[in-house]
Every structure is written in structure tokens, then in C-alpha cells.
């Protein structure tokens, strides 16, 4: 079934990692070619109990992310369908050349899973807080970059990538994410999901910022401003049609992402609009900064990627309409 948006967004009750582990376990039970690798983060990605039961398919790669990506690439050449997980900082910038050469250039069917994106790394702080991972992966030709928004989408994307050819970077929050979609929803990679329809401004968000954008849309509605909200869960290939159509319908665009605005969602949307339908726009996201430790709420405000920031940016952009 296609996706259905919940009438009310509710805080997630289930951690993303629990769904990650359970979905992979179910996939492995039906297809012995699926393998989940983890770089000494099984207790973090939820697969430790699965590893104890089935160490053949839940592979302990040790603290050696570069080798893990190479091993996953090699495994794929024998027909294995590998999902290789580490924290997003290590699954992207630490293994960039391996992802570029052994996965991208060599056209190996590897799914790289990077968890704790952006501020969701909270207490692990600046060293572990990737604001650049999706942008790096976007620069690898042929790499699909997807950020599942909630547990429903995560499960669907994991199952879809089992049979799809190509390389994938799956940017995954590890803890609870706000519930956006009804259970059983399915999603088309490369297409945006429209969560709300409005005529005045378009909010295009991804990951953590999707729920914030929905809250922002509610704030704007109280001021008589009706916002369209798009969940742009696939950063690459990006849904050019949806971006242009929304820009055409509303004449103003704001992007919101838990990532550096450079080469992230904001850049990707700006590229499409500049080429196809120049439109006043603003970008909410990390303004080319490093991360730091803190609670999620503190970091949201510290880096200015919350609902209030999105609503304020919309009001700014509307002045330029």
C-alpha cells in the first residue's frame, strides 16, 4: 500500500535500532544471502542478540570500518546482500575512499548504514556528530542516499533494498523517531512524500526535521499561512518533479535538515530550483559548524534546526516572494 500520514504525530515508542535488527533478522530467516555486519557496535545497533543466535549472518567486523566496507564489497561479489553498519561519522567520512572505490567505482551492491546522524549523536559529541555524511555520499556516482523518517519507513526501505541492485547509504536515527506514517505504508525511493498541502510556502524536510517542519506548519497556520510539507527522504536521486511542482504552487521554499546546509538537502533543492524554477528560498540546517555534546533539545536550539527556526525562515522567505 502507498503511504498514509498519521492524523496525529506521536512520539515514537520503538527505537529505530530495534526495528533495524528485527527486520534484518526476518529478512535473513527468509533469505540466507542477507548479511548484517557491524563494526563493534552490535550493542548499539541492536543486533547483539541476533549475533549470539546466528554469528554467521550477523557478522562481527571489529573496530575496523575501512576493512568492513571492503569486506562487504567482496561479499557482494559472491551474491551476498550486505548491510554494513557503523555510526554515521565512521560509515561515511572514515571510510570515504572505501565507499568511493570498493563500493561506488567497483559497482558493488553494498548497503552502508550510518546511524546517529547529526544532533541525534547527542552525548557522543562533536567527534561523533556527522553533519556531512549525506553530502559526502551524495558525491559518489550511483549511490542512493536515503534517510528513513520513522520506523515504518525504515522497515520498508530495508526490505526494498534487499532486492534492488546498486549501492545505498541509509542514514538512520538509532533511538526513537516521531511516528509520521501509518504501519504498512510503503515508499518509493526517489519520490517525496507529501505530508501536508498548502498554497503559501513549501517546507521540504528530511529525517529529524520532518516532524519539526510539521510543527512549524502548524505554527504558520495559526498566522493564516498555509504550508505544503514534503518529506524528502531520498536525498539522491532527489525528486525534482515534486520540488518544482511545489515551488510552482507556492512560490516560496524552505528546506530543513539535520545536516550541514552545504551539499545536503538545502543544496540539493537549491540546485534543482536554480536550474528549473528559480524561487525565493531559505535553508534551515547546520550552518557549516562542528557538533558538540548535549541533549537533543539543547542541540536543536543550539544549531537552530527546530520548528520555530523553520517557521521564522518561512516568514523571511515570504517577504521575498
Amino acid at each position: 500500500m502507498p503511504y498514509t500520514v498519521r492524523t496525529q504525530l506521536t512520539p515514537g515508542e520503538t527505537e529505530m535500532r530495534k526495528v533495524y535488527a528485527a527486520t534484518l533478522a526476518d529478512m535473513i530467516s527468509k533469505n540466507s544471502k542477507v548479511v548484517a555486519l557491524s563494526a563493534d557496535l552490535m550493542s548499539s545497533d541492536g543486533t547483539q542478540a541476533n549475533h549470539k543466535k546466528d554469528p554467521v549472518h550477523f557478522v562481527q567486523a571489529g573496530i575496523q570500518e575501512a576493512n568492513m566496507i571492503g569486506v562487504a564489497a567482496g561479499m557482494s561479489l559472491t551474491g551476498i546482500i550486505p548491510y554494513a553498519h557503523s555510526f554515521a561519522c565512521f560509515a561515511s567520512r572514515r571510510v570515504y575512499d572505501q565507499a568511493f572505490i570498493s563500493v561506488g567505482f567497483a559497482q558493488c551492491n553494498v548497503r552502508i548504514v550510518g546511524s546517529d546522524p547529526g544532533i541525534t549523536a547527542t552525548y557522543n559529541g562533536g567527534t561523533h556528530m556527522p553533519f556531512e555524511d549525506a553530502g559526502l555520499m551524495r558525491l559518489i556516482p550511483g549511490m542512493t542516499v536515503v534517510e528513513p523518517t520513522d520506523v515504518v519507513m525504515l522497515e520498508d526501505i530495508l526490505r526494498q533494498t534487499e532486492t534492488l541492485q546498486g549501492s545505498f547509504y541509509i542514514r538512520m536515527a538509532r533511538k526513537e523517531a516521531v511516528n509520521i506514517y501509518e504501519p504498512g505504508s510503503t515508499f518509493e525511493l526517489g519520490k517525496a512524500a507529501k505530508l501536508r498541502d498548502g498554497k503559501d510556502v513549501t517546507l521540504i524536510a528530511s529525517g529529524y526535521c520532518v516532524a519539526e517542519a510539521m510543527t512549524a506548519a502548524g505554527m504558520l497556520a495559526k498566522q493564516g499561512i498555509e504550508a505544503t510539507v514534503l518529506d524528502m527522504y531520498t536525498l539522491k536521486p532527489i525528486d525534482r518533479e515534486a520540488i518544482v511542482a511545489a515551488a510552482r504552487a507556492t512560490g516560496a521554499v524552505v528546506t530543513a535538515e539535520n545536516h550541514n546546509i552545504l551539499n545536503g538537502l538545502g543544496s540539493a533543492v537549491a540546485e534543482v530550483l536554480a536550474e528549473e524554477y528559480p524561487t525565493p528560498m531559505g535553508r534551515v540546517g547546520i550552518q557549516d559548524q562542528y557538533g558538540e555534546v548535549g541533549t537533543l533539545d539543547y542541540l536543536r536550539d543550539r544549531f537552530g534546526i527546530g520548528a520555530q527556526n523553520i517557521a521564522d525562515k518561512a516568514l523571511d522567505v515570504l517577504k521575498r516572494k
Binding site: S32, K33, V35, V56, H57, V59, A61, G62, Q64, A66, N67, I69, G70, V71, A72, A73, G74, M75, S76, L77, T78, G79, I80, D97, Q98, I101, S102, F105, A106, Q107
Partner: protein, 273 residues
């Protein structure tokens, strides 16, 4: 193939590579010539292959992690009939299917792209692991350079393969003693590679990398291993068998004239080395 045949096959490979590169006038001949005797053993009968069906899933796999020696592998593949010998004349030319460094998407018979050092080794380990997960008994062969052992990724893979008991992985270090900037020990001191790999949990041994019988015997011992991968340190001479390269001090990359190539071919045809 018996020893004499394998030796002759190795000489054929050296000659065909020089014929291919004769008019190109440059290439990574040093590291290509040093692994030719190993390639003669592997492609001269040791590996299960089907040149008409490079993707055959029953084949043994080969990853040339020192990807800059690609032209050596291309020569073995061409002579075995994966593609026409004529292709060797296109090495590094515009639009070629035989680039300086191995590219699995371009060349029939190349199992993995390599060139960013250390990465092919991990991929070979991954192939061996992927086969083991599926209960298959194919062998996986891979060659890393001694200079390549400067890369941390080599040692990550070295730790990983014995941990996962990948006994169908048979790896080689082409220990020709030189890397781009000079003798390996002038760059970083490698020490006793056999001992290092043994300490990492491998079945490791030193072999004369130009003695095809010795290489074959070492592989046979590797195949007896039931719970660990094998690392064979090949003691080789960079540029082996190619006079104008072998005697150059800095011979990682060579530029040469057609006359030099002809002279080297003539020497090889006479059985010289």
C-alpha cells in the same frame, strides 16, 4: 602444467606484455614483471577458471590488490582467451578496457577493482567470507605489494581473515623490496612480514617468487589449512626478466623505447631472464 611448461608460460606472459606495451612506451613494468611467475602458476592450471564464462560462480577468484600491476593480469587473461591479445596494445589508451589500475566493470576476468592500496585485500577477504557464509569451496587468491603493506587497511584485513577462519583464502605479498620512493625499508621498515602475518594468525611462509614449483608447493600446503588463511611471502625482483627495468634503481614506473622493448623480447625469447 609441469615446471618447465609453467616457466615457459611465464616467459610468454612477459613477452606478450612487452609486445602490448611496446608502442605505449611506458607502464608499471617493475611490479608487473615481479608477479608474472605467480600469475603463470595461478592461470597456468592452479585456479579453476572458465575464460569463456568469467562470471562462472564455480570459479576461483583472483584479486590483484596491487592494482597498478593490472597489465600483468591483463596479459594472463588475454593469453588464456578472456579477450583478444590485441587488446593489450590498448593499455591506457583513451577509452580502453584495460586501464592502468584494475577495473572490474571494464575488463572480463577482473574480479575486483583495485588501485587505492589496501582495498583489494579487504575485498578478497570479503569474497572468501561471502563464499564461506554460503558453504562454497571456491578458493580466493590475492596479491598485495610489499609497499602496499604500509597501508593500515592491510593490517585490518590481516586481523579479520584469521578471526573468521577463512581457510580458502590464499594471499601473497609480492616482496620485491621497492616502492615508488625507493627501497621499502627506506620508506617504512616492514620487518619480517612472514612473522608478522603468523602473529596475526595466518599460516605464513617465505618462498622464492620466481620458482614456480616452490610457489605451487606453497599453495598446496596452504590448501591443507583447515582453519586459517594462508599468506605466502614471495621474494621477488622488481622488473624480473625485463632487462631495462630490472637493472634500474627506480623502476616502479618505466618509460622505454620500442627498441628497448624489442631487445628485452629477444632476450626472453632466447630463454634469458
Amino acid at each position: 602444467m609441469v615446471q618447465e611448461d609453467t616457466r615457459a608460460f611465464a616467459q610468454t606472459l612477459r613477452i606478450e606484455l612487452l609486445r602490448g606495451l611496446r608502442d605505449v612506451g611506458q607502464g608499471h613494468l617493475g611490479g608487473a614483471m615481479s608477479v608474472m611467475d605467480l600469475l603463470a602458476v595461478l592461470y597456468g592450471g592452479e585456479m579453476k577458471i572458465d575464460p569463456q564464462n568469467p562470471g562462472w560462480d564455480g570459479r576461483d577468484y583472483f584479486v590483484l590488490s596491487k592494482g597498478h600491476a593490472g597489465p600483468a593480469l591483463y596479459t594472463a587473461l588475454a593469453v588464456k582467451g578472456y579477450f583478444p591479445l590485441d587488446w593489450l596494445k590498448t593499455i591506457n589508451s583513451n577509452g580502453t578496457r584495460l586501464p592502468s589500475h584494475c577495473d572490474r566493470t571494464k575488463t572480463p576476468g577482473v574480479d575486483m577493482s583495485a588501485g587505492s592500496l589496501g582495498q583489494g585485500f579487504s575485498a578478497a577477504v570479503g569474497i572468501a567470507h561471502g563464499l564461506k557464509v554460503q558453504g562454497k569451496d571456491n578458493y580466493v587468491y590475492t596479491v598485495v605489494g610489499d609497499g602496499e603493506c604500509n597501508e593500515g587497511q592491510v593490517w585490518e584485513a590481516a586481523l579479520y581473515a584469521p578471526s573468521h577462519r577463512l581457510n580458502h583464502l590464499i594471499a601473497f605479498v609480492d616482496k620485491n623490496g621497492k616502492q615508488l620512493d625507493g627501497p621499502t625499508d627506506d620508506v617504512l621498515v616492514l620487518g619480517d612480514l612472514r612473522q608478522k602475518f603468523e602473529d596475526f594468525g595466518w599460516f605464513a611462509l617465505d618462498v622464492d617468487g620466481h620458482d614456480t614449483d616452490a610457489i605451487r608447493a606453497a599453495i598446496a600446503r596452504g590448501k591443507q589449512q583447515t582453519d586459517k588463511p594462508t599468506m605466502i611471502i614471495l621474494h621477488t625482483v622488481k622488473g624480473k626478466g625485463c632487462s631495462f627495468v630490472e637493472h634500474e634503481l627506480n623502476n616502479h614506473h618505466a618509460r622505454f623505447t620500442a627498441a628497448q622493448a624489442d631487445e628485452a623480447i629477444a632476450a626472453l625469447e632466447k630463454g634469458g631472464c
